[in-house]
């Protein structure tokens, strides 16, 4: 189908964009990569009256390795993140995760800001953001503010951003090179939406006990979640097959997925167990490696 009519704007800078958003309110939508928005518009599921194309705002596209963390401009394409040497060496979990998004065409145009503000519960980047303890910087009429990943996702396609705010930057705190990591997902076909996805980061102290672990689950509800029970269980414990299995069990029990045409809730819960298991084993390998 073809989209409904709309008026099109291409602001030169972020102030112009915010001004337009405020002016047109509810009926205006930001267009970045368009890889999620335009399909919805072509199917007429979304019918915004005003489109604010921010692709001209070059200063929203950057990858900065700063002291203590990584700052990525909202307009940075998945492909740029995939190819970034800095990210490959210091944030390899992000490299891998982004390479699992969609296909080459989608990665060429899709942006990190778009993906995160679209908040698809099966989206790889929202799931990863939680595991990385990341946050976003958003800007609106009232100025700029930060939102922690934990407070950002509220439900299906819904974030705690105001309708008149624009996501400007994604910030990821430094990851110690000693941390093990993994991102795995279950899809029917390669590059499909994740039925279940798992992001794991883990580090072990000199005594062989886990001193930091994050397990984030995607595809198991209306938004990505941290498997907090599993994380608590693993802290201060020796990481081995037994503790990994138990943690995977806990994560599976905690998860409350829905059933849909792709997978039943029961199957999803079982897959949480399988993939948390795989994620933890792989992360452990990397710690030791």
């Amino acid at each position: 189908m073809k989209p409904f009519s709309f008026e099109y704007f291409k602001p030169n800078n972020i102030d112009e964009a915010i001004s337009l958003l405020n002016g047109y309110g509810e009926d205006a939508v930001i267009l970045a990569g368009g890889q999620s928005l335009i399909p919805l518009m072509n199917l007429r599921l979304a019918r915004p009256k005003y489109i604010i194309d921010i692709n001209k705002i070059a200063e929203l596209s950057y990858i900065k390795d700063t002291n203590g963390g990584l700052s990525i401009g909202a307009l940075t394409r998945h492909r740029e993140i995939e190819k970034s040497d800095i990210i490959k060496s210091k944030y390899p979990i992000l490299s891998k995760t982004v390479s699992l998004i969609g296909n080459p065409q989608i990665r060429n145009w899709g942006t990190i800001g778009g993906s995160i503000s679209h908040a698809d519960p099966a989206g790889e980047l929202p799931t990863l953001l939680l595991a990385l303890n990341g946050k976003v910087k958003v800007v609106g009429n009232q100025g700029e503010r930060e939102i922690d990943g934990d407070d950002l996702f509220l439900g299906y396609l819904t974030t705690s951003m105001e309708k008149t705010e624009i996501l400007r930057e994604v910030y990821i705190p430094e990851i110690s090179p000693k941390m093990g990591w993994e991102f795995v997902e279950l899809t029917k076909r390669s590059h499909d939406f994740a039925i279940v996805s798992v992001a794991v980061l883990m580090s072990i102290d000199n005594a062989g006990k886990c001193n930091d672990v994050r397990i984030s689950l995607g595809g198991v509800g209306s938004m990505p979640v941290r498997a907090k029970g599993a994380e608590e269980f693993l802290l201060d414990k020796a990481i081995n097959d037994d503790s990994i299995n138990e943690a995977a069990n806990i994560a599976s029990e905690e998860a409350e997925p829905e059933s849909d045409i792709h997978a039943s809730a029961k199957y999803r819960k079982e897959m949480v167990k399988v993939f948390v298991n795989r994620g933890l084993i792989s992360a452990l390998d990397r710690v030791r490696g």
Binding site: R44, A46, R47, P48, L157, T158, S222, S259, I261
Partner: protein, 149 residues
Amino acid sequence: MNFDGNFKFNAPREKVWKFFMNPDMLAKCLPGCEKLEAKGENSYEAIVKIGISVVKGEYSGKVELKDIVTPSHYRLVGEGGGLSGFVKGEVTMDLEEESDKTIVKWKSVAQIGGLIAGVGQRMLSGVAKILTNQFFKDMEKELTKEESL
């Protein structure tokens, strides 16, 4: 799609029943309800605007109340649609007393078709749950308001 659940109201059954039979109250609490009109005995027409983020749509529908057993049981049969899809189904509602509280139990079976069912399939039951929860919470708010008057 099958969808069952229950909700406990802090009010006696007679009161809860009256609320559920009151179209003005339903119109107030039904998420996105723009219009709810009685079209005959136990028959209503409604227009609802539902949206999650950029996905917004307007749906119109007809609903009939059947098998009414005051104050404990009735069945809603309805169908509706919009540009993005259609819905046809029924809900059985049972109101049970628990001392001075009421437990409303519902069982629903629905056929959902069209675009929203195809493309939106993986979010449908989750969204239905969220909207239903919102409806019941709003009904409770209204009940509590009335109690305190």
